[in-house]
């Protein structure tokens, strides 16, 4: 199972694209957790309403806006996910897009010793962005991490490069636990 944590803030139609890009996935093994940073405005509530009957999608809002690009909210949801060893977690933003074979492509290569998988993307300058773990070479939404390992590392940083730091710390932990890092050389993700 792939657990997808989406941090959202006041962007209704992009959020609908993001969620629909999972609803049309060729592999149904995913669950979405949308966390809105602060109370949802009515436009976002209207979009959320469209998904209320789908048990794979849950949504919540924080009482107040926390800021920090939603990073604190990511960790809050991460830590309450079930401790399933075989599951993976993806953290992403509300305005991204995944191609319909995304879940299928990444789940089919998972082996018992896989700790982390990343894939290539189109970045917001709309050029090819070959992903690798490092500062400035990976982005939120372009990698998944085995769930217990992700929880152990935690999403603890709050700066603009917190996603890179988290990816690097996850890779370090993979090495300590003899888990492997895999790369899918396909463009499976658009970072808007």
């Amino acid at each position: 199972m792939l657990h997808v944590i989406i941090t959202a803030y006041h962007r209704s139609v992009p959020l609908r694209i993001m969620v629909n890009s999972f609803l049309v996935q060729t592999c149904p093994e995913w669950k979405i957790y949308i966390i809105h940073d602060g109370p949802m405005p009515k436009e976002v509530k209207k979009i959320i309403e469209q998904f209320k009957n789908d048990k794979r999608i849950s949504f919540m809002e924080t009482a107040k806006r926390t800021g920090y690009w939603g990073h604190k909210n990511r960790n809050m949801i991460l830590q309450i996910l079930p401790d399933n060893t075989n599951d993976f977690v993806l953290m992403t933003n509300d305005d991204n897009y995944y191609v319909p074979v995304f879940v299928e492509e990444i789940t089919k290569i998972i082996r018992p010793d896989t700790g982390m998988i990343h894939w290539d993307m189109i970045h917001s300058n709309y050029e090819f962005f070959p992903t690798r773990v490092g500062m400035g070479t990976i982005d939120m939404g372009s990698f998944i991490v085995r769930l217990p390992l992700a929880k152990k590392v935690g999403f603890i940083h709050t700066g603009i490069e917190a996603d890179c730091q988290y990816a690097m710390e996850c890779l370090e932990e993979c090495k300590k636990e003899n888990l492997s890092e895999l790369h899918v050389p396909k463009i499976l993700f658009v970072h808007n």
Binding site: N20, Y97, E127, I187
Partner: protein
């Protein structure tokens, strides 16, 4: 200058929703969309379309009978029916594609007075979601990756019903542009995903 978008669809409402939404979040609002359903639509498709009833720029037509052939016969019909000024541009695309939010802005910004056709690169599902460098040649260009000046598109017409008719249409548009001393311009950005 307006980009007129013709989308032929057949009962894929969720995918269609992504396509429509990808235009609703465009940075440039100079577009309108005609969605043509190949035959009578399902209730689910009609319900999806009703989500967009507040948008005057989005129109939906159910063609009375299903014509199939990858939607090509409907492209031919509605390309001629669509109202456009000669300087406007026309995009013909599929219901399961995705455009980046800057697509309309980049394509229209790239238009010069003598531009006849503009094309961009594609992330293509047939090539395992790798980059297809677009060229105006049959099998090197895909419907959805190029826009054509309105008067050029209407004179050339979308004539053929075979699988790669889109490539042939692009090639014929480029040839006609050449005769009229109009240019084929290339936008060097990955702003289109063909699913």
């Amino acid at each position: 200058m307006i980009l007129h978008i013709i989308v032929v669809t057949y009962n894929r409402p969720l995918k269609l929703k992504i396509l429509i939404d990808s235009f609703l979040v465009q940075t440039c609002p100079c577009w309108d969309m005609l969605i043509v359903h190949d035959g009578p639509a399902s209730d689910e498709t009609r319900q999806t379309i009703s989500l967009y009833k507040e948008y005057d720029k989005i129109r939906f037509i159910e063609h009375p009978e299903r014509l199939e052939r990858w939607g090509h016969p409907l492209r031919k019909i509605y390309l001629q029916k669509i109202k456009s000024d000669p300087e406007d541009f026309i995009l013909i695309t599929n219901d399961d594609n995705y455009y980046m939010p800057i697509f309309v802005e980049l394509m229209l910004d790239g238009c010069r007075p003598n531009t006849g056709i503009i094309y961009c690169d594609t992330v293509h599902n047939y090539f395992n979601y790798s980059i297809m460098k677009t060229e105006i040649k049959v099998n090197k260009i895909d419907i959805g990756s190029f826009i054509v000046r309105g008067d050029v598109a209407k004179v050339v017409g979308f004539k053929y019903n075979y699988h790669n008719a889109d490539g042939r249409y692009a090639v014929e548009c480029a040839r006609y542009c050449d005769k009229r001393h109009l240019t084929a311009d290339y936008c060097n950005k990955l702003i289109f995903i063909h699913n």
